[in-house]
């Protein structure tokens, strides 16, 4: 076990390096970018002045931001320090003079303030967690519930009509991106085109909270399920094809192996051989996916959240990107990277735990 332990320690030690590399790269890019918060503020200020003071103010609009204000603004948005120092302040390993010379950055749990909403970034992001986790968790569970039985059935009836027909379906699911499927389903079942049964986007109805407060729990649950159905299909589609085919091929592999032959030879009945002996080993590749799925809980939702207008992490990232709200973007990036890195290590760990044949070194 010694080699394995050192392997995982090395993997964990690599996490901070990776984290710093990626965040520094994006930080540098956003600092070098035109159209940052100062330009945005400038544009806003000019608009306001034009609205308030009329033509006279608009005429002097160009000089609205003199050098002093510019410096103040740069200071306010922390753009006046060189990029490496600015990054270290953001990370929290360099004293921040705005916070009285104390260390205050990501490492201390201070992600800064949104330039658009003036809220702390961390609050803004964590407030979106429930929605993302809700879809991630349900989507993942649902795809297990569908893909595993389907994969087993396909493996047991290899090359049958059922296998061919479902293969077609699986490949069709593979070739349509999840969000496209969402849009199509909304078109079919959320408009009058075929049959209007589901709502057209949104996480839940507007009056959900008041209904919940009024004690209409049954209505609330129903409403939630109604709104969940279409995005959920899009969510599942992402892993539907790979999981089903993985399950099928892995079970087929095992059914052809020697220990299954032995089990048959000693007279066990087919049901027991397939579902107890072969299936247990066939689940190993799927278990590895659990680690990566941690990443799916949060990320990968950009498109579906945009398509179905669900107010989660993805939509927050999208709107922040449109408004150049870099503190929030950096915050989201931190979470995405951390989650993905943990997911990768978790996958290896699960593999090492469930499969004693695997040895990392």
């Amino acid at each position: 076990m010694h080699g394995m332990t050192s392997y995982f320690i090395r993997r964990i030690l690599l996490v901070p390096v990776t984290f710093v590399c990626i965040t520094f790269m994006v930080y540098a890019i956003q600092r070098l970018a035109p159209g940052g918060p100062i330009e945005q503020a400038q544009a806003r200020l000019q608009q306001e002045m034009a609205a308030e003071g009329g033509a006279a103010a608009a005429a002097t609009g160009d000089s609205a931001l003199d050098e002093e204000t510019m410096k103040e603004l740069q200071r306010f948005y922390k753009l006046d320090r060189p990029i490496p120092i600015g990054y270290m302040i953001w990370l929290g390993v360099w004293p921040d003079r705005d916070k009285g010379g104390k260390l205050s950055g990501v490492l201390e749990g201070d992600f800064g303030t949104s330039t658009r909403w003036a809220d702390p970034v961390l609050d803004k992001i964590t407030s979106k967690f429930p929605v993302s986790i809700y879809f991630g968790l349900i989507g993942y569970l649902a795809s297990w519930l569908v893909c595993i039985p389907l994969g087993i059935k396909k493996a047991l009836n290899h090359r049958s009509n059922f296998d061919t027909a479902t293969s077609m379906l699986v490949f069709l699911g593979y070739s349509i991106p999840g969000f496209v499927a969402c849009v199509l389903l909304m078109l079919l079942f959320a408009t009058d085109m075929v049959y209007k049964i589901f709502p057209l986007g949104d996480f839940r109805s507007e009056n959900w909270d008041t209904m919940w407060a009024a004690g209409e729990y049954w209505w609330c649950v129903k409403d939630q399920i109604w709104h969940t159905a279409i995005p959920l299909v899009g969510w599942m589609l992402a892993s539907f094809a790979t999981m089903t085919i993985l399950m099928k091929n892995s079970l087929l592999d095992n059914l052809g192996s020697d220990y299954v032959r032995t089990a048959f030879a000693k007279g066990l009945n087919e049901r027991r051989v397939v579902f107890v002996h072969a299936l247990r080993n066939s689940m190993i590749p799927l278990c590895v996916g659990i680690g990566h799925a941690v990443g799916l809980l949060f990320a990968g939702s950009f498109l579906i959240e945009k398509a179905c207008n669900i107010d989660g992490m993805g939509l927050l990232g999208y709107t922040s990107l449109l408004q150049r709200d870099y503190p929030i973007l950096m915050g989201i990036l931190v979470f995405l990277v951390l989650i993905r890195l943990t997911g990768n290590i978790l996958s290896d760990l699960i593999l090492a735990l469930v499969d004693p044949r695997v040895r990392f070194s």
């Binding site: 690599l14 970018a33 070739s175 349509i176 991106p177 078109l187 059914l255 990320a299 498109l303 989201i332």
Partner: protein, 563 residues
Amino acid sequence: MSILTTVLLYALYAVLLAIGAAVASWLVFSVVALALWLVSLPVRLTVPKSGLMRLVKAIQLGLFGAREAAGFVLGWIIVLLLPVLKYGGLLALIAAAGYAIWKAPMILLVFALSWLVTWKLIPWLWVRLERLFGGSGKMTPITKKRVARFRRIKRGYWSFRVITTLFVMSLFLELIVSGKAIAIYYDGNLAFPAPREWVDKLAFFTKISSFEKASDFGQVGDQEVDYRKFAKWCDDPSELDGVKKELEAKLEKNEKRFAKMKPPKPDAPELKRKRYESKQRSIAKTKVDLAELVETRRKFEGGSAWVLMPVYPYGPQDLRTDVEGSFPLKPSLAKGIPLGTDTSGHDVVALLTYGFRISFLFALVVAAIGYAIGIVVGGIQGYYGGWTDIVTQRFQEIWGSIPFLFTIMIIGTMVDRTLGLMIVLMVILRSWLGITYYVRAEFYREKAKDYVQAAIGAGVSDRKIILGHILPNSLVPVVTFAPFGIVAYIGALVSLDFLGFGLPPGTPSWGALLGQGLGDNLTHYPHLTIVPTVALAISLYMVVMIGEAVREAFDPKVFSRLR
């Protein structure tokens, strides 16, 4: 031989081999263009020779000018004759049969050309290229077996044939779906705007203008010729009566107004004088136009004006202002908009076809470049191992953790997005990574095998071992990986376009069309969603079919089962 030279040679070979497919098609078309130019050379000999610049200018300015018409036509006839000669009279028969409908020969021409290029020229070029690099140009028995197995899987094989031919066909889109005329003739002026535009796209290193002035072709003004109006006049010269009425009404109105104006005194303000003079000029010009219109009409009636329009005469940049109503327009065959228009009025047929081309072009180029890099990196890792392997592996791990869609979007907000930039970002952030692991594993496995060890023992150089022995045996994962990669890259491009962070606005794209169909448009204009979704599903499904067949053919799994 030093490691550095080996790596360099190796990189060069891999890059050439992988980009080959993408470049070959461009190359072929350049050759066709060059051949056409050569054919038109005798006509050109009258041009005084004055060095290289003269030549370059001649290519740039007069590739298909009026005087070179004979050469151009001859070139096309030769290109057309090739498939006819090859397949006996069959194609000629089909062409003759289709001649009743004037559009059929054009589609057939394009299709015959596409088929020829795809199934004759590119394989031929591929073999030549391989021979150039010391290969035998013949398939090894195992490859032969794999190809035969691939052909037996009908779904995949026919998907492959259809998709490839469609893609090659889409490279000729300027001649099929375009607002510009293929050939236009008016009173001694002959021009080929659409072929010129096509050559302009093809010869991306130079600029060839396809602009034709309206006044040269019997229309009024300095703007570009309205080819569709021209075609209408050709079909029915009495359409010109409408123009005549319009001009007459304008003249009458202007004259009425002019009659009220008093001639300004010499000491009147300059502004007033100028206004009077301009009115006077405008009336005179309208009178001239009216007189010319009679002449124009005679020419249209007398047959000294004709035009050959593309099969679908609306390009991706043309607005369908000819149809009444506000955009987006719903599909209507009666109104001549089979798939409707998008929110700003572009014809969806044009967007769909050009979107197909740009999606596949993007995916193919991303795959080719990315896999070339991936083969080199994976090969070095697998063959040399040791520290190189460990360091690059760690680097890849870091690189693979970057959320690539998010990063491309962030970068996309800062710089001008172009097709080239999207390709570069996609290659750097994604496409080279996945294949590396497979190639590395293949190299690692192959190196341990006896034949490689024997070669090393016999003192064969690293270069020869890598290029001659290991590489041909480790390309299976690249081939099986590619179709699924293409599906992923097209999906990524559609996603980025959908979010508005993909190709620059104005580029025909499926994702942008899909993005327009959200919200209220979903209820009222479902064609904005249905068309790109169906197109995406069908084409990607076919690519997945190809991928499945290739995997089955190259890496067959035999499942034996006891019962």
